[in-house]
Symmetry: C2
């Protein structure tokens, strides 16, 4: 019955739609990172984003799909940054960077993102949470999508061709543990234990400490 020529308003709508979707995305990432996946409801997200309750399902299909989309975007950004640094390290050393440079390419991106004045800080916390609280779908990806890690394993093996492959993998595993341990709660505990001596706010100093420890461990 309605005139088929009359359609929705033009550009303005698209922009508004994109803005709503982005608002939901950012609010969800923030709340999930701060309070955990299960502790945040769709209602919390839409209230924070100041959009209507149905927006999550309209733009993302479901709460889980929204969660998964944030996860995919942030992990791929992080791994791309790591790959870039690894590639640059290779460029500085004829394609065979030393252990410390390889480790730095893995450590530095999440550390710098997590520094207090960086607006990606929240994304890092989200990713760390995904590792332990993620849905079955996310854990499936974490378990099976190891291509980005394979490049680091290969680089480490090339840097230490004398080391048995088995040792390379185990030590890489231990090194990954260092990164995953960078959670608010763990820093708080350390701060409490040390009587306030430790300051994780100094990102470059922390990076140096991590590299000293990991390099020595890897070359044990």
């Amino acid at each position: 019955m309605t005139d088929p020529i009359i359609q929705d308003p033009p550009e303005a709508t698209e922009e508004a739609q994109a803005a709503t979707k982005a608002a939901v995305f950012n609010a969800a990432e923030r709340l999930f990172a701060l309070h955990g996946f299960q502790n945040v409801s769709v209602r919390d997200i839409t209230a924070e984003a100041k959009v209507n309750l149905a927006s999550v399902n309209y733009h993302f299909g479901s709460k889980d799909s929204l969660l998964f989309e944030i996860f995919r975007r942030r992990t791929s950004e992080l791994n791309r940054e790591r790959a870039r640094m690894l590639h640059e390290a290779g460029g500085r050393h004829d394609g065979k960077p030393p252990v410390r440079d390889i480790l730095e390419a893995y450590f530095a991106p999440p550390l710098r993102w997590a520094s207090p004045d960086n607006d990606r800080r929240i994304s890092v916390q989200f990713i760390i949470r995904a590792r332990s609280e993620g849905t079955a779908e996310m854990r499936e990806v974490l378990r099976n999508d190891v291509s980005h890690l394979a490049r680091f394993a290969d680089a480490l093996a090339a840097a230490r061709p004398d080391l048995p492959k088995e040792d390379v993998y185990w030590r890489l595993h231990f090194i990954l543990g260092l990164v995953h341990n960078n959670r608010f709660a763990e820093f708080d505990r350390l701060h409490h234990l040390s009587g306030g001596v430790t300051r994780e706010a100094d990102v470059e100093a922390l990076l140096r400490r991590m590299l000293d420890f990991a390099e020595a461990g890897f070359n044990a």
Copy 2:
């Protein structure tokens, strides 16, 4: 109206009550460890334990109280075992054990408990989950109850009096990360990445690898 002398049956009741409570405790620990805290309902627990739905509230007050009781029992058992090994290491070295013995006292208990044939395996998984999925009450305890860690920090400082205290704390922090990384999912990923070369089932070999890495890292 009923005769006030007639009471509940004697000992049999106490035993049955204790058995019910234990059944709930064990079923809850198992399900929480396997599926996560938020993914297990009181209904799941009572079904698994083959007791009635009201048992959890009757014996423990609430789901959260049950969770907290399991957490307190298992962490105190684990820390007591670690303290015992640290004490024994001190006995072997005139009260000043070397770094490697200190680390072994921290690493060995959870690793041995987690070996496939040990019935404490499930308790270790429960404790690891508590660190990331625990209630605010549990995280409060984890953050503030650092007395068991203080003993390890003191021992490490005594073993390396030349090392600034700040370094001792940071390196201890990194070492703790190694232990927390011992989750099913992480081993799965490592297994996948390495093409099946790594076998975490060999507990003593894994312990040796962890000690090699951590000792070198600490002495970096």
